[in-house]
Symmetry: C2
Subunit: 152 residues, 2 copies
């Protein structure tokens, strides 16, 4: 019984923390975090396709890694399957459906793994390995875009 | 002469890299990075004012640190003293003026130092120290907002 009560308190606290953030804020923060990662993906791309600057790739990979590990799932609050942050969200309602929980979880885990690996590879300064890992990381982004983001 | 030519090549390459990014993209990426940091500042604040979750504070501080060290200066391209990213930029043209270069440099250095310190303190899990460092970090954000960002 004590366990159940503690569990219920936990749920209440979580709900109350979530309640502090408005849906439009959560969507705005999501869009901001993805755009910040996009900026840094572009930087890595520019480096592997042009003049390779190890330090710049490390900085960019570190940003992507930290955001990938930040716990962005907390920004997918109930009620944020539609609505406007900076702009209208492009998430598909399917992302929130219980039947897709496992698939979404795998996509998130794959993305985290590739982002962590990207930071490791960037630290070595190996341009060819960076290029290969950049493509794997990009693929892990695309997996979500393909299934859970509307086309522009 | 060779030195001068190399210097000129350097300038040309920098200009060409900068030319790849449109002013509106640079402004959008800037706004996104600041909003991503704002999300994570809110998270640290919630933790020091409420129930302290060490892991969440570490994640949040790591995001702020990586963005602080990402080289956002590259997003302050010529021609981005006004214009629209997600929304109209709030930067004051004063930020770009040669006479303020030293002041802006100090603000950026202070912010970097406090963000790096924030990540170190977060890793200790010491809630009181986190609170103190969070305030110092916030102060370093405010220094720029006071002088170089328009009021809403």
């Amino acid at each position: 019984m004590k366990k159940l009560m503690l569990a219920l308190v936990g749920v209440t606290l979580a709900a109350s923390a979530a309640a502090q953030m408005k849906p439009e804020e959560a969507i705005k923060f999501r869009q901001s975090a993805y755009a910040t990662m996009a900026w840094n993906m572009h930087r890595i791309k520019d480096n592997v396709e042009g003049k390779y600057n190890k330090d710049e790739v490390i900085k960019a990979a570190n940003v992507i890694q930290s955001i990938a590990n930040s716990g962005m799932g907390a920004l997918y609050l109930p009620g944020t399957d539609k609505g406007k942050g900076w702009v209208e969200t492009r998430v598909k309602p399917e992302l929130f459906k219980a039947e897709n929980k496992e698939k979404v979880g795998k996509i998130a885990t794959d993305f985290n793994r590739e982002a962590n690996e990207m930071a490791k590879v960037a630290a070595t300064g190996d341009a060819a390995a960076t290029k290969a890992q950049f493509e794997k990381l990009g693929g892990s982004c695309k997996a979500c875009h393909d299934d859970f983001r509307t086309k522009e």
